[in-house]
Amino acid sequence: MVAARTDNAHRSARTPALGLRFLLLAAMSILLLIADHRENHLDTVRKALGAAVYPLRIVVDSPVSLWRWLQETTAARNELLLENSRLNAERLLTQARLQRFAALESENARLRAMLEATSRVRDQVQVSEIMSVSSNPFRHTLVIDKGTEDGVYDGQAMIDANGVVGQVIEAGLLSAQGVLISDPDHALPVEINRNGLRTIAVGTGEFDRLDLPFLPNNADIRKDDLLVTSGLGGSFPPGYPVGVVTDVTRIPQGPFAQISARPAAALNQVREIMLIWPGEEPPPAEIDSE
């Protein structure tokens, strides 16, 4: 009752002020509306007020953004956990496979290198594995697992991925004996790839050295010249790399220079060799490495 009476007492005094204030504010509102709608004069005012309202927006957005952040975080965590378990399982599988693949991979690389050589030379080749090597230090021979049954013949050229290895000297029915180009009794007709100069490469009994004893002092040969088979001897098809000249010593008082070369093939490291049937003539047996 006290409150009501107080209000009553003030009402007569306040009511005109209230109406006036309302009219003033309404007029201001309408002016604002017109200015805002017609002219876009209030962009700066609106921007300033927007900056003032910005804390309100933060308050409004905070629960939403918190919820979204939580969702994203937990989702990312779940995804990470899933991915982790999946990767672990994959790793186990891969490791199991890798045990076999390590051996297969190196074998594949070796075979691929051989195949590349094959495609380059376009001769018919057959891969053959070395069964044994000579125990005699002065005879560089080896035994391969292919014989006349597979079309192997005496004098057939043997190469590996890098170059000429040797030739077959005795073809058995299921195996064959070959001699390496480094055998002291072996001589190989070669030419210098750079200028076609022909000569003979003779084995020395060392796996890493060939001699070229029949070149005169004025022969056009230099260090790092590539020697390739010339094909003139009949048993080797032309164009296979034999070695690289490592040393050229001219001897003025002698008729010939002293020249040595390093074989291109790793003669004491080969495991598989390729038998070559020169030209397009196929071997009697099917080409099959195994």
């Binding site: 209230l18 201001m28 509102s29 002016l31 409004v60």
Partner: protein
Amino acid sequence: MSKGTQRLPVAVCIILALVLAIVPLPGWAGPYRPDWAALTLIYWSMVLPRSYGVGTAWLVGVVLDVAQGTLLGQHALALSLIAYMTVKFHLQLRVFPWSQMTAVVLALLALYQFILFWINGVAGIYAPAVTYWGPVVTGTLLWPLVSLVFSGIRYRVPHGR
């Protein structure tokens, strides 16, 4: 009673109403968002007409215009009009039973939405009718609850008249 202690709860109520006015709602609920600012201002203008009236309503309206991106002055005009009505008739409204008071709130909210509709129409902004009627209905339905909460606040905190 110092002025600060009586103003703070009301200011919190108004800020809360503004937050609720711009809080994002799902698409289907958007047209039914109650006019929280209008409800809040109706209550406090009725209860404390000397402290909260057309001036407060106008300021809140401008803030609401900026926050909602409507024409500047639109909500200010509408809110100051219903605040004016409330303050003018606050003695009658105070003694109304709650059912009658709710009917008055319905009328005030309808007037509020009509002002918005009218200004939009003049400005060439068209919206489906539900966007005007939805807030009136939900606001009226929420009025008993809102007034209950506000009276709880009012009688729990110290206030001077």
